[in-house]
Amino acid sequence: MINKSKNPPYVGLFITCLVDSFRPNIGFATVKLLKQAGCKLGVPEQQTCCGQPAFNSGDLEDSRALARQTIDAFAEFDYVVAPSGSCASMMKKHYVELFEEDTKWKQKAEQFSAKCFELVSFLTDVLGVEDLAADFNHSVTYHDSCSGLRELGVQEQPRQLLSKIQGLTLKEMKEPYVCCGFGGTFCVKFPDISTRMVSDKVENIQQSQAEILLAGDLGCLMNMAGRLKRLDSPVKVYHVAEVLAGMAENTPAIGEGEKE
Amino acid sequence: MEETAGGCMSKARQAVLKNLRSSLQRDALSSDATAQLESRFTQHTVHEQPDLSHLDLLERFTEKLTALAGTIESVDSLVDVPTAIEAFLKPHDLVSAAVVDKRLIDLPWATGFEVSCRGAQGADKISISLAFAGIAETGTITLLSCAENPVTMNFLPDIHIVVLHKQDLLLHIEQVWAKVREAGAMPRTVNFITGPSRTADIEQTIQLGAHGPRFFHVIVVP
């Protein structure tokens, strides 16, 4: 836990390619949460992708190039925070693996890794945020995205913060920790299996009887929202940051247009 | 392939060992290195175990054995075993004949009860063994293959009854190894038996009496 009475932590926002392209609201919610918690914020322009698609496709050369680019882009910051467990874990856990043979970059990657965090766990574990002045009068259910859960240990923290939101009821679904079937390129390479996995997940979401679905990763959220909408489900899908920042109520949910 | 099987196999043996050493990036270990490794064989280091020190051995053994569908009773002395067995067998309504561990042959068997000391055969319904040890940790009976209790006795008959001396009831699995080493070398077969035979291969439904005995009964004597 950092001592906030000293200089405010200088945080670089890693926006992630999906949030940048598809749902900037999550980015603005992240900015709001970090500023609220007393951080000084910066958003370097030289960021694009953390390199995970290349890494998981076995293209180490491009992964390294993107890792170097990202590490350099965020050199000036104390912390690098991403509203995504999978991007954060790529940077925190896997960048070091990319540079086993390269002493200079291995060191840089290690230093970089130490300052990378997923958003919600950064708020609770590093900044010590315990309460949020937000309200949300709805029942919600929370899906544990795999990378955040298993690589970064993000599980209790979002639930902790959600419990402080006025009017919010958490209705746990069955097996919230089971994969939703997104898996990056997996969902387009193996669409039938992915559809089965997301359908099973949707069944659990519906059984929970929650009005709202939340998670910490936009890839998972788009996958689940896409299936919910195809099945004409009334469940609305948001990123947990949007609810924590009080920026969900008047914004169309993921996959919903202005009229809804 | 060479004509002699031994020659063929030693070619493969050489090839496998060579591949292993090449992967390990070294030659065969020096005698100093192997001496170090040999010590593992004499130290018999016991690793982490479940903490069960506070439990009563017989209570724990009974709990674990019965959870896996074994049955158990205690009698005051060895001479009471035949009567206990007769009572146990009554509801099973089988022929009064059993293959018996040689070490138990001199017990006062009822006159109508036919006992033999031999390997079990397909038609045998009942066998009665003497346990080498019991393991309270898992509710397990340990039997060593020997002239007195051939292995077939443990698997062919429908009902397997085992007499266990209370002093042979140990806590942890590793204690059996210490006892085996004390008794000499490993026999052809060491059986750990915990309850009757079972299978779950049909729709994950547990069914007792697959190929081994359908009933497993332990009689504890002092």
């Binding site: 392209s21 958003v43 496709s57 293209d59 195809r230 | 496998v16 280091t45 490993m186 052809r188």
Partner: protein
Amino acid sequence: MKSTSHAFKQQATIALHDERLQRALGKAKGGFINKRQAAIDALPVFGDLRKRAKEIKNHTLEHLDFYLERFEQQVEKNGGQVHWAEKPEDARQAIIDICRSVDAKKVTKGKSMVSEEIALNQALEEVDVEVVETDLGEYIIQLAKEPPSHIIAPAVHKTREEISDLFHDKHGTPRLEEVPELVNEARQMLREQFISADVGITGANFLIAETGSTIIVTNEGNGDLTASLPKVHIVITSIEKIVPTLEDVTTLIRLLGRSATGQEITSYTSFFTGKKRDTDIDGPEQFHVVLLDNGRSEMLGNEFREMLRCIRCGACMNHCPVYGSVGGHAYGWVYPGPMGSVLTPLMTSLEESSHLPNASTFCGRCAEVCPMSIPLPDLLRQHRIREYDQGLQAPRAKWALKLWAFMAKRPRLYHFIVSKKIRVLSWLGKKSGRFSYMPFATGWTKSRDLPAPQGETFLSAWKKQQGDV
């Protein structure tokens, strides 16, 4: 066993629509998962055992040559024989030679995945040796002429009705419905086979260097009848199964049952050391151990070494959402699920089985439940790295990713193109907020809507905001 892994996609689709299979898989999954969890909750030292087990195995692998030689020495001391087999054909030939030497007509078999790996049954049948599988699950699939679909429960894909039909058809007996009746019929059918077999072949869950012992961990008793009744006992196994001492193997045994079926111990755990002694009344007169390599010695020296710690518990596939959806046959070879997706490319070829390492979201549940701490997703990724290096990926997918990387490495170009594209997409999807069809993404839109972008990109909006300030 001949591989059909190249047809994984088609096999998976068939499996997804197979109602009976889906019912069977649904029944099995919950059982394995819940039982394992209960067993682990009841064992506070589980975490310590896991650490210790990894240590024991790593130590053993580092000195594998020493421990295998020591094992061989001990087997011979107890009147047995060790046969080394570099490749599957060597193992098959060794076993055929042993069977011929005793003029064997009939062989009973305990369950052995290594015997599937070397396609033993077919080889024996080709030389007129009758092979009788005795493990109930293996017996069922032998009757059905199917391969196993799970390494612990080979017939997990079959419903009770299917088994009733099978027995009725193949035994020529009246059709039975209830599980006890079906099991009892199998017991009767196999009893005589056990007794009349000339050779018994089992696998080994572990080998112990200290004593030259082989171990089987079972519940039915068939393995023991197979090992003890015939005159000859052959153990077909592989080189990485070796463990140094009896105490070392005890740690692994504590992990195996719990991880596989939630059992603290199985009904039978049996340790075989050599042939029958002169004082024994029964037991085999010959004891042979066939040690198969089949690529394992190579794994010891490359990025797949950690896979050699596998104790074949099946926990990974029991928890895998992909295996849970499609079952084992979709994988097309001997070993399914996560561990099978690591091993199959190594034991067959990467070309043949290239779908397998890709059929994973890297959710990591397998690694979480693996008692031997094998980093399965990392190993699957290693196969993807090899595929990339060998140019085995589908060209369209490869070039799409290459294009992505090209742009991503050039931030200004990336932001320029992406912000234009997103503007168009968001305009197209503004009213409903989603697309029910998207060219080049039909894999997604076939069953899901694609949420539309909100508007401009975050970075464009942010830049504007900062400009305003």
